[in-house]
Each structure stands twice: as C-alpha cells, then as structure tokens.
C-alpha cells in the first residue's frame, strides 16, 4: 500500500453529490412511508380484530427476522417483474431505485411500527377513556388525542431510526445502484484509489450521522424538560 493520494476526490465531487442525493431520497421516502405504514401496522396490531393483529404481528416478525440485504435483493428481483406485468414497462428499464425504495420502506415500517406501538402505549390509557367519554370516536381519539402525544414522545427514537436507515441505505450496492457509498466505490475503483475513497466516504457518513445524533440528543433534552 503506497502513499495515500486524495487528488481524485475534487473531480469526483459532482458524481459523489449525485450519489448523496440518491441516498437522501431513499432515506427520506423510506422514513415517510415507514412511519405512515408503521403507524397503521401498530394500530392494526393493537386493534381487537384478531385477523388484523395477526397480520401485523406476522408482518413485523417476518421482516425483523430476515437480513435487510436479502430483502433488498428480493425486491430488486421481484419489483421489475411486477412493474412489467402491471404497467408494461420494458424489462430493460432501470427500476433499481424504485425497488430499493419499496424494499426500505416496507422493511423500515416493521421497525417503526414497534417504536410507534410503544409510543402509543406510553400515552396514559385514561386519555383514551376521556376522549371516548366526550363522544369522540376511536378514530378521532387516536388522531386528535393519542397520536399527537405519542409522536411527541417518539420523535427522538424515530429520528435515531432514521439515522440508522441512512447508513443502511449503503446496502443498495448489491444492486450496484450509485448511492453515495456506491458512487464512492465506483470512483475509487476507476481511479485505483479505493482506500482513499472509502476513507473519505466513511468520514462523510460519520460527520453526518454523528452531528444528527447530537441534534437528536439536544432535542431529547428539550422535550424531557
């Protein structure tokens, strides 16, 4: 291993930036869809309807028991075929980004639903009673009384899960999609400067995630007081 040579980085910055945008796109979509779908799963799981709660429990346990990278590969293989049969898109179309997004969203929903379930349970049971006693329906009580309080308690955990997800998106390299990590790998490989590029990419991931968790911690203190 010779001297470290960082000169290939400045020229690669636009390409790396495009990768970062892809990473952020996947993260943001997975967080949003994951929270919405996770909330529905949590409500299904806590509902008195056996069929719904079994479905939700099965879903969560399935996704939490399978390696993420495998889920990614499945969707990478399944989604194109699905799109083809549904919308007649040609097989050659690049569906790597959409299949990655679907996979992350569905996978993360399993984790989010457990966070959200705990958050809903953290809101005192008496609140549901009080809302019901005023004549609000279960759906109204949930959306106007329980969930706003639950989400307030959960924000730090949801953000932390988002940070973990941001790192996990690097797994899309299995479909050779150029997210930030994939872009760095490609540039390093091309220029024969893999070590430098991976060190640089690692530093960027560290900076972003570490400062994000500092922000979360500060926010957490503010909420706690």
């Amino acid at each position: 291993m010779g001297e470290l040579d960082w000169t290939s980085i400045p020229g690669a910055l636009p390409f790396l930036w495009a990768g970062m945008v892809t990473t952020l796109e996947i993260t943001l979509l997975a967080v949003l869809v994951g929270i919405v779908w996770g909330t529905l799963l949590a409500i299904m799981r806590m509902s008195g309807v056996k069929l719904l709660s079994w479905f939700a429990a099965g879903y969560v346990n399935l996704f939490r028991s399978i390696p993420l990278v495998m889920v990614l590969l499945w969707f990478f293989l399944i989604v194109p075929a699905l799109l083809e049969s549904l919308f007649n898109t040609p097989r050659s179309a690049d569906t790597r980004l959409s299949s990655a997004m679907v996979a992350f969203a569905l996978f993360e929903a399993a984790y989010y639903s457990e966070i959200i379930r705990a958050g809903i349970q953290s809101v005192a049971k008496g609140q549901l009673g009080a809302a019901s006693a005023l004549g609000l329906t279960y759906a109204q009580a949930m959306t106007m009384v329980i969930l706003p309080q639950a989400f307030r308690n959960m924000v730090p955990l949801l953000l932390t899960q988002g940070i973990i997800l941001f790192q996990d998106t690097s797994l899309v390299y299995v479909s050779s999609l150029a997210d930030f990590f994939g872009a760095a790998y490609k540039v390093g490989d091309r220029d024969g400067r893999l070590v430098e590029m991976l060190l640089f990419a690692g530093a960027v991931y560290f900076l972003i995630c570490f400062s994000a968790s500092l922000l979360v911690r500060r926010f957490q203190k503010k909420v706690a007081t």
Partner: protein, 242 residues
C-alpha cells in the same frame, strides 16, 4: 334517567360486579361510596360504556348501553364524565380542551365552541387561565377545567369518578364547591367519592358497595342516621372518625 338492572361483570373468574341494580331519577344526586376494590368506579364506568359488562342492562335516557347496536359515541356525548386524574389533553390549551369535542362531536363552529367554553371557564373561575396548558395549572384547577369540559357538551347527566381523590387537601374544596353548585342547579349526578361532607350537603341517596355488590341504597338521612348493613356501619365509622 339512569336505570341499572342486575349488572354483573367479571374478569376471568374474578367477579367485579354482581347483580347491581339501582336507578337515578332526573335531578337526583347519588353518591356511591365503599372500600377500594368494591367496584364503584367500574360501576360508574359501565354507565357510559367505558367498561363493558357481561350481563344485565343499563338504560340511560331510554338507550341501552350494553346493546351492541347502540351508537356509544353519540350516547357518551350527552353523558359528562369527570375522572380521578383529570385526563385533560396535555398537548392542547385549556380553550382547545373545551372546544375539541364541541366542534368534532356536536358540530358547533369554533367561535361558538370557544365562546361556550369561556362561559363555563368563567363559571368555574378559570377564565384567566384559558390560554394556558394543563401542565401549567394546579390539580384543583385542572379538575375544574375537566368539569367545565364535560359541561361544555351540555350533558343530560354527569358522572364523577373520585374527582377529589388525586388532589392535595387544600384543593378539594374548590372542586367540591363547583360540584355543589351543579347539584343545586338540578343536574343529575352520580358521584363516586369518599367526601361524606359533600354527600350530606347535596346527595339525595347514598349507595354503599362492597365486593362488587350494592350493599346499601338508601336516602341520605337513613344512610347517615342508621345504615342497615354492618359493613356500611363499619365503613362509616372508619371514615367519619377523623
């Protein structure tokens, strides 16, 4: 107004209520007392369907609470309830706590709901706190807001579940004063409480419960004069001594 007929409830093999029957006429104030675990809170929560029961019947204003076809939210909208732990919504201002159900359930406009809410806040002496959040109020103030919130729905009767049990002693009076005022205006009330002074002042009848049964159901004068059951005598002697 409220008729409770042979109501029984059990969790597994544990009998919480057995064969409870009583009725509350319009304008009547009923105090329900008894040792903890006697089922009095459960009974009052059965009246607006917050607690299900397995057998018997409860009729509120002509509507059967236990009937699966009954629209419970609609029924509850007209039955006010005040809880031991206030249960104000902590993420909303006092004004919004009062307005929420008026707007969402009764379909009032926001202006109308806020105005009605402020009227009731004035009545309980808390108009100055209208824009505060529940966490900024004392326990006694929170409970008075909770009473105002229940009244904002123009209820046909009011249920109180140990409204002063979670309060510091010096705050009990301000809450009881509001309740006495309500009783004197002719509100139909069912009150689970150990405040025997309140019972003496405004109750028409006192119900004494023990181990899920209604042991005594008597006019106030009879109950305090000479309770028939030994269990009620013992209970009274214990809580009236100090």
């Amino acid at each position: 107004m409220i008729a409770i007929k042979n109501v029984s409830k059990h969790y597994g093999s544990f009998q919480v209520l057995s064969e409870c029957s009583t009725q509350v006429a319009k304008g009547e104030v009923i105090v329900v007392c008894g040792p903890s675990g006697s089922g009095k809170s459960t009974l009052i929560k059965c009246v607006n369907g917050l607690e299900p029961f397995q057998s018997g019947e409860i009729i509120v204003n002509g509507i059967s609470v236990g009937d699966p076809k009954t629209n419970l939210p609609k029924l509850r909208a007209h039955v006010g309830m005040v809880f031991q732990n206030f249960e104000l919504f902590p993420h909303m201002s006092v004004t919004d706590n009062l307005a929420l159900a008026q707007v969402k359930v009764l379909g009032r406009s926001r202006e109308e709901a806020v105005q009605r809410g402020h009227q009731l806040l004035e009545r309980v002496g808390l108009l100055a706190q209208a824009e505060k959040f529940p966490g900024q109020l004392s326990g006694g103030q929170q409970q008075r807001v909770a009473i105002a919130r229940a009244l904002s729905m123009d209820p046909i009767c009011m249920l109180f579940d140990e409204p002063t049990s979670a309060l510091d002693p010096e705050m009990v009076k301000e809450v009881l004063d509001v309740m006495v005022g309500l009783a004197q205006e002719g509100m139909t009330m069912m009150v689970v409480t150990h405040e025997m002074g309140f019972a003496r002042r405004v109750a028409h009848r006192v119900i004494f419960m023990d181990q899920g049964r209604i042991v005594e159901d008597a006019p106030k004068e009879d109950f305090f004069g000479a309770p028939r059951s030994e269990r009620a005598q013992l209970f009274l002697s214990k809580i009236l001594q100090h």
